[in-house]
Point group: C2
Chain length 103, copies 2
């Protein structure tokens, strides 16, 4: 399992509109073979900044199954016009994890 | 619950040493009141790049309970000398999440 990581900056006055568009577009990515889960988080320090984290079974699930699919064009059409900078997509492998015993 | 997010860049030849130091230092952060979980992820595209994600019950758990504690000085002493850039710490609130029904 790998984590796709991308920081998304949108115009602050568009943040709520983007969030609604993101909810509506989410079934597109979630239907991909090899998709596990995704979440969108809103930055507490910078208005209009979001963090997208997507878990995939492996790199190909993202880069081939999703990025090279017709569905990706629908995802782009729904969301990419919100971004004020070109998003930088990176992938991360788990190296260490710990959870509080009380959780 | 909030997510602390920080990208950590270390010298690529120090990456394994950093990872071991991170494992050893992890009980320091995990003992903080309001800590939930943390994970360190290794970038697949950029050697020496790591992503630290920490879940806290709220912002004060990180910024007061941890950052203003004597324990934080031990954390700094164990880890900060590895960083080639000053880490940018940001906090994110959950805005949307979805998980595959098959998970």
């Amino acid at each position: 399992m790998i984590l796709e990581h991308v920081v998304l900056d949108v115009a602050p006055e568009q943040a709520d509109t983007f969030l609604e568009a993101f909810r509506l577009a989410s079934p597109i990515i979630a239907a991909t073979d090899g998709y596990i889960r995704h979440e969108l988080r809103r930055c507490m320090e910078t208005p209009g900044r979001f963090l997208l984290l997507v878990e995939w079974v492996n790199l190909d699930a993202h880069m081939v199954n999703f990025r090279q699919s017709p569905a990706y064009e629908r995802w782009r059409a729904a969301l990419h016009h919100f971004y004020v900078n070109k998003p930088v997509v990176e992938h991360f492998e788990l190296a260490y994890a710990h959870t509080s015993p009380s959780e």
